[in-house]
Symmetry: C2
């Protein structure tokens, strides 16, 4: 159980992974390392995209891209390694807005992507091209080329664009509700729907369910495709021991009246899931999850090294593959090559 | 003759200077040092402005601004001191256009200005605000808020946007003609027209006459105001000893059939001028210029140090002030305070 078969490592099942930024990108990188990356498609949240300084900024797409290209800043979890900050210092001297930090190298992504968007290319086509240029073999696909914008409704009655809540206000306001503006009309890329129809495994990465995964699931055709897939859908808990490993997940869950626990995340996804991965620290919650009709894998989910990412990715793929074989019945339960 | 009166140094005549980039900015900086900078208005060429990477870039405005703010890169003559180049390296990896070098700090100017232009502010208002934020006490004004674009017609029959000729092709094509697209319809800022009507001295800086000063003079109301001013108009030669101190001035003059000499520059400006400043190397050309009806000052015009800039500025102001006093007659020939 603690390792994939050689065949799995060499090719792996066709896998679609849903991911937000930092936490999700760690597992996405692990997946790309333990399977044929050409068979991996990562769907990125674009609900926290925004226009800043006249530039289109896609924070989760970029964290995924930099992480999978080996360019990510391991210390901050966002942005690029070896970054310089001359632009921000000069912008401050000019009286520009500096609450959202854009590194000099990172800026190349925003400037070039904005230019290409204005020239009429889709976000998906630009993402595919830029990630290929950075040597990424897996496909990274925005959840939609249409704009979806996460709006935080606060208990003070304010409606905040996501990055204003998240970065400018440091998640301080109390969350009353979360909306995904534009999601109802958003269409997923046909490439993604084709990948979902052929997927052998769907992985929901350990991202914030409320603001990283829910926006993806709010795209109607995308949710329908995930509901319709015959592939097992497996989520990895972003909550370990009642705390979020990163970011405001726990605070937001509490403010929205959810229990801050891994099994509450499983309950949040509900019928969408075939399997759920609990951290070893939460092994006692396994029965609570199983009572929801969801299979459970208990594993070390805290990823600090690349080895951790690879190991968790292997466990998740192995778990999902077993779930798929079990549901397909014995005649198809041969190892795939 | 080799120094201004103390009164002149303390306040100086109300001065309007016309300038392109590097060479002109040196004298503009010198002027700001030897007179009350609040009485100095520098009109910048915007004929070589262009849209690049989706950003509005104003090379001459920026060279003037950085120079007068003490931020200029003394080695290159353009861009900022202490610049970093992380953006360009990252842009290259993404397959972006890299023939026009934008430093990381410089980029803040382009991004912030483009954002403000798109928000509806004028180039003049943005320039005034940014230069004030950088501590510049003189006023820097674009020749027009309306777009004027210098087009190089080559002997091969091509029409090249200026920066493509200048930077991308390194001035290699042979010039057949130069056009200033949009100049006929361009309106100068009323602030500039008011300054010209009150000017006691008009200085044409040692910039390329064909591509830095001619675009300014191609704005009809601006040229008319300079023709109508009672203030002496004095130009400083950008050609010394038959060579341009910087850039393609000499090559372009030759290709357009002009003699490559300082007196040819005086002849090019013609009736507009009351005085012309020749370098000591070109003292022998003084009579040739005087035959055009233009007074001559012979001075050291090669500015390498800040002291050189200050010294030339003092000489130019002194020369122009004497010309103004001579034409105004003896009853007004008292030193101004």
């Amino acid at each position: 159980m603690s390792g994939a078969s050689p065949a799995l490592v060499a090719s792996g099942p066709a896998c679609v992974a849903l991911s937000g930024g930092v936490g999700g990108a760690k597992l996405a990188l692990g997946l790309a390392h333990v399977m044929d990356p050409a068979r991996l498609l990562v769907v990125a949240n674009t609900g926290d995209d925004f226009e800043h300084l006249g530039l289109h900024v896609s924070p989760d797409l970029d964290t995924l891209t930099y992480t999978m290209a080996g360019l990510a800043n391991a210390e901050t979890g966002w942005g690029r390694a070896g970054e310089t900050w001359t632009f921000m210092a000069a912008l401050e001297a000019l009286g520009g807005e500096t609450w959202f930090k854009l590194g000099d190298g990172d800026l190349a992504t925003h400037v070039e992507r904005t230019r290409r968007l204005r020239a009429g290319e889709t976000l998906g086509a630009i993402t595919a091209d830029l990630s290929a240029r950075l040597g990424i073999q897996a496909r990274i696909v925005p959840m939609s080329d249409d704009p979806v914008r996460t709006i935080i409704e606060t208990k003070d009655g304010e409606s905040l664009a996501f990055q204003h809540y998240f970065v400018r206000l440091g998640c301080a306001p109390q969350v009353a509700a979360i909306r995904f503006q534009g999601a109802e009309r958003a269409r997923p890329d046909p490439v993604m729907l084709a990948a979902l129809s052929e997927a052998e495994v769907v992985v929901i990465c350990p991202s914030n369910p409320l603001i990283s995964i829910d926006p993806i699931l709010a795209v109607p055709a995308l949710r329908a495709a995930i509901e319709a897939t015959s592939a097992p859908v497996v989520a990895v808990s972003p909550i370990v021991g009642g705390r979020a490993l990163k970011g405001p997940t726990a605070k937001m869950m509490g403010e929205l009246g959810m229990a801050v626990s891994a099994d509450a995340v499983a309950g949040h996804y509900g019928d969408l899931l075939d399997g759920f991965v609990l951290d070893t620290a939460d092994a006692a919650l396994a029965d609570s999850v199983r009572r929801l009709g969801i299979e459970v894998l208990v594993a070390d989910t805290v990823m600090t090294s690349l080895d951790d990412r690879r190991a968790l990715a292997r466990r998740v793929l192995d778990f999902a593959t077993r779930l798929g074989e079990a549901s397909a019945g014995p005649q198809q339960a041969q190892p795939r090559t």
